[in-house]
C-alpha cells in the first residue's frame, strides 16, 4: 500500500541519515582528528575538511593543532651567582603529531601537565647556569632560544613542537626588591647631597671672589688716598717752611700767640697771675718794673 511505501521510504531515509551522520565528520582548521577503532588509533587527519570513517566501529578524537599557550606560574630560581630570581616564562606550542600525542598523554590537560614539568626543569637548568645579570639583560634572548631548543627536544616524544619560549618577567623576590628600593633611595640621596654640596661650593667660591675683589678695590683706593694725603702734607710743609723760614724767632712768637688764643679760648679756665708777670708789669708800677 501507499502508506507502507511511504513509511518504508521514511525509515530508509532516516537510516541513511543515521549512517551518514555516523560515518562523516568535519575536521576544522583548528584541529586534527584521529580515528580510533575499538580504542586503537587507525588513521589520522591533519588536513581540514569533510572526512569519513566506518560507522559504529570507529570513533573520532579531535586534537587541537593550534598555536597554544602554556603559561606557567612564576618560578623562584637560583642563578649561578647564588642570587634568587622570580622567573615567569611562557611557551607557545603546537601538537604536530596528534597520534603520538594521543598515545602518550591522551588529552590536552595531560599534555600540558607533562609540558609544564619539562619546562620547569628546563628553565631551572638553563637559568641556573648563568648569573642574574645575564638573565636580566645581557643574554636573555640567547637563553630563551636555548630553553626553547632543550624543551623542544624533550617534548618531541609526545608529539609537541615548541614554537617559542619567552621570559615574561624576571624579577627579584620581594625581600630583594626592598633592598633595591633602599639602594635606589640611597643613591638618589647621595646624588641630591652632591648637587647641594656643589651648589654650596660654587656659591662660596663666588662669594669669596666677590669679597676679595671688594677688598682689593678698597685697598687700592686707600693706597691712592694715602699717597694723595702724603703729597698734600708735604706741600703744606714746604709752603710753611718757605713762609716761616724768613724769621724763625718772630714765627715762634706769632705762632705762640695763635696757640694761646686757640688753647685758652673757652672761658672756664682759672689763671693765677703774679703781679710780677709781664702782662701786669704796669699794674703796680706806672713806670713799669724793669
Amino acid at each position: 500500500m501507499r502508506g507502507n511505501a511511504l513509511a518504508a521510504a521514511g525509515v530508509l531515509i532516516a537510516a541513511s541519515f543515521f549512517i551518514i551522520a555516523n560515518s562523516a565528520f568535519i575536521v576544522s582548521e583548528s584541529n586534527s582528528a584521529i580515528v580510533l577503532q575499538f580504542g586503537a588509533p587507525v588513521s589520522e587527519h591533519r588536513e581540514a575538511g569533510l572526512k569519513f570513517k566506518v560507522p559504529f566501529v570507529q570513533n573520532v578524537v579531535m586534537i587541537d593543532k593550534r598555536n597554544r599557550e602554556l603559561d606557567q606560574d612564576a618560578l623562584e630560581i637560583i642563578a649561578a651567582n647564588q642570587e634568587r630570581l622570580l622567573v615567569d616564562a611562557f611557551a607557545r606550542y603546537r601538537i604536530i603529531n596528534p597520534q603520538l600525542f594521543f598515545q602518550t598523554v591522551r588529552t590536552i590537560d595531560g599534555g600540558e601537565l607533562r609540558l609544564r614539568t619539562q619546562m620547569n626543569q628546563t628553565v631551572r637548568r638553563v637559568l641556573g647556569e648563568v648569573p642574574v645579570d645575564d638573565i636580566v639583560s645581557g643574554r636573555r634572548n640567547a637563553l630563551m632560544v636555548r630553553i626553547r631548543e632543550l624543551l623542544g627536544a624533550s617534548v618531541r616524544e609526545i608529539g609537541i613542537e615548541i614554537i617559542d619560549v619567552k621570559i615574561r618577567r624576571a624579577d627579584l623576590p620581594a625581600q630583594n626588591s626592598q633592598a633595591v628600593f633602599q639602594r635606589m633611595i640611597a643613591e638618589r640621596n647621595q646624588l641630591a647631597q652632591q648637587f647641594r654640596a656643589q651648589g654650596n661650593e660654587e656659591a662660596q667660591k663666588l662669594r669669596a671672589q666677590a669679597d676679595r675683589e671688594a677688598t682689593e678695590i678698597r685697598a687700592t683706593a686707600t693706597e691712592e688716598s694715602e699717597k694723595l694725603r702724603g703729597a698734600a702734607d708735604a706741600e703744606r710743609n714746604a709752603v710753611f717752611a718757605a713762609a716761616y723760614g724768613k724769621d724763625p724767632e718772630f714765627f715762634a712768637f706769632y705762632r705762640s700767640l695763635i696757640a694761646y688764643e686757640e688753647a685758652l679760648r673757652k672761658g672756664d679756665s682759672t689763671i693765677l697771675l703774679s703781679p710780677e708777670s709781664e702782662f701786669l708789669r704796669y699794674l703796680n708800677n706806672v713806670k713799669g718794673r724793669r
Partner: protein, 393 residues
C-alpha cells in the same frame, strides 16, 4: 523570549500580576493557562523556535483552520492540500536555507569562509553569500580597527608590583605600555599558508593573550637592556621602538598575522612612593644648587659695586683733604707773610701790641687770681675742688 512574553501577557489578564510573571515563564508550555481559549491564534505567532510540541500544535492548528474553512468535505481532499502545502513548505524552507548563506562584512572586517571546516577564502567588506549550513560557514574578524593591549594588563596602580621591572643597572622601574595592533588586512597569502586573518582566527588559541604575553616579554627585555636614567629620560623613544620591533619579530616568527602599529610608554616611574620622593629630591637638589649659585652671584653683584663706590669715596676724601690742606697752608703762609711785612717795619711796637691784644683777648673771660709772689699774710690756699666744681655750672 518574546514569545514567552506574549503568552505571559495574555495570561496575566486573569490573575492580574502581569509584570512579575517572568520567573515562572521558564518551561515552554504557553497554552496551558490563560492562552487555552484562543490557542491557534496565540501559538501561531511563534512556531519558528522548533521544539517538538510546538510543531504538533502548529499542525493541529492549521488542520483545524482548514476544517473550519471547508467544513463538509470529507477524507479525499486533505491529502491533496497536504501535498500542496508540503511542497510550498519545502520550497519555502529551501529559499530560507539559501538566504541563510547571505552575510555582511563590515567596513573594517574581513570574512573567513570555510567549507566543512576547511579554509576556503577570505572576503572583504560588503554583502556576500556562502553555501549555507552545513556546507560552509563564515566568520568575520575586525582587521583595520586598532586593538589595544595594556601591559601590565589593566594598567598599574602605585603600590602594585605588576608593572615593576628590573633595569640593566639593576634598579627597578614601574612601567606601563600601551601597544596598538591590528590584524593584517591582506587577503592574499603565500603558497601553503592561509591569509593573515584566517591564521589569526583559525590557527591560534587565544591570540589576544599571545599579544599580551609577547608585549610583556618584550618590554621587560628592553627595560632589562637599558639603564634607569636612560629609560626615564632621553631613551623613551628608543624603548618604545625597540619594544615594537621585538614584539613584531616574535609575532612574525609565530606567523600570527598581527601587525604592531605602535607601542607607547605611558609610564616609567620610580617603583614606590619613598623612591619617588628620593627622585623628586634630586630634582629639588639641582634647583637648590642653582639657587645657591644665584644667591652668591647676587651677593657678588652687590658687594663689588659697593666696594667700588667706597673706593671712590676714599679717593675723593683724600683729594678733598689735599685741596683743603694745601689751600690752608698757603692761606696761613700768606697771612704770616702779610703780618711779617708789617712787623718788619716796626718790630718792637708791633710785637708789644700783638702781645697785649692777644693776652687781652685770652684773659678777658677767665677767672683770674692775682697773688703777690712770696706774699706776706696771705695763705696760699687753693680750693681746687670748688674751682673745678664751678666750671660745669
Amino acid at each position: 523570549m518574546p514569545w514567552q512574553d506574549n503568552s505571559g501577557k495574555g495570561g496575566s489578564q486573569g490573575p492580574g500580576r502581569g509584570p512579575t510573571r517572568g520567573p515562572w515563564g521558564g518551561p515552554p508550555k504557553p497554552p496551558g493557562g490563560g492562552g487555552g481559549g484562543q490557542g491557534p491564534g496565540g501559538s501561531g505567532k511563534g512556531p519558528g523556535k522548533g521544539s517538538p510540541p510546538d510543531l504538533d500544535e502548529l499542525l493541529n492548528a492549521s488542520r483545524q483552520r482548514l476544517k473550519r474553512a471547508f467544513p463538509r468535505d470529507g477524507a479525499p481532499r486533505p491529502p491533496q492540500i497536504n501535498r500542496q502545502t508540503a511542497l510550498l513548505l519545502v520550497a519555502g524552507v529551501g529559499v530560507l536555507w539559501g538566504l541563510s548563506g547571505i552575510f555582511q562584512v563590515g567596513a573594517s572586517d574581513r570574512g573567513v569562509i570555510t567549507t566543512f571546516g576547511k579554509y576556503d577564502r577570505v572576503v572583504g567588506p560588503g554583502l556576500h553569500w556562502h553555501i549555507p549550513y552545513p556546507f560552509q560557514a563564515a566568520v568575520a574578524e575586525k582587521v583595520t580597527e586598532l586593538r589595544e593591549t595594556l601591559v601590565p594588563a589593566g594598567g598599574s596602580q602605585r603600590g602594585s608590583s605588576a608593572g615593576l621591572m628590573l633595569t640593566g643597572d639593576k634598579n627597578i622601574v614601574d612601567v606601563v605600555i600601551r601597544a596598538q595592533w591590528q590584524i593584517s588586512p591582506e587577503t592574499a597569502a603565500p603558497a601553503g599558508q592561509l591569509p593573515p586573518v584566517a591564521r589569526y582566527r583559525l590557527l591560534i588559541d587565544n591570540p589576544e593573550n599571545l599579544v599580551l604575553a609577547i608585549a610583556e616579554a618584550a618590554i621587560r627585555e628592553v627595560v632589562g637592556r637599558n639603564e634607569l636614567d636612560f629609560i626615564q629620560t632621553e631613551g623613551r623613544g628608543v624603548v618604545m621602538e625597540q619594544t615594537r620591533e621585538l614584539m613584531q619579530q616574535a609575532l612574525d616568527a609565530q606567523n600570527t598575522g598581527v601587525i604592531i602599529t605602535s607601542v607607547n610608554l605611558e609610564k616609567a616611574e620610580p617603583p614606590t612612593e619613598e623612591v619617588n620622593q628620593a627622585f623628586l629630591d634630586v630634582i629639588a637638589a639641582t634647583q637648590d644648587r642653582e639657587q645657591y649659585i644665584n644667591r652668591a652671584r647676587e651677593y657678588a653683584n652687590k658687594v663689588v659695586p659697593e666696594a667700588r663706590g667706597a673706593a671712590q669715596q676714599i679717593l675723593e676724601e683724600a683729594r678733598a683733604y689735599q685741596a683743603q690742606v694745601t689751600a690752608d697752608a698757603r692761606g696761613q703762609a700768606s697771612r704770616f707773610d702779610a703780618i711779617y711785612g708789617e712787623y718788619a717795619k716796626a718790630p718792637e711796637v708791633t710785637r708789644q701790641r700783638m702781645y697785649l691784644e692777644t693776652v687781652e683777648r685770652v684773659l678777658g673771660p677767665m677767672n683770674k687770681i692775682i697773688i703777690e709772689e712770696g706774699g706776706q699774710g696771705v695763705v696760699p690756699y687753693l680750693p681746687l675742688n670748688e674751682l673745678n666744681k664751678k666750671a660745669p655750672q
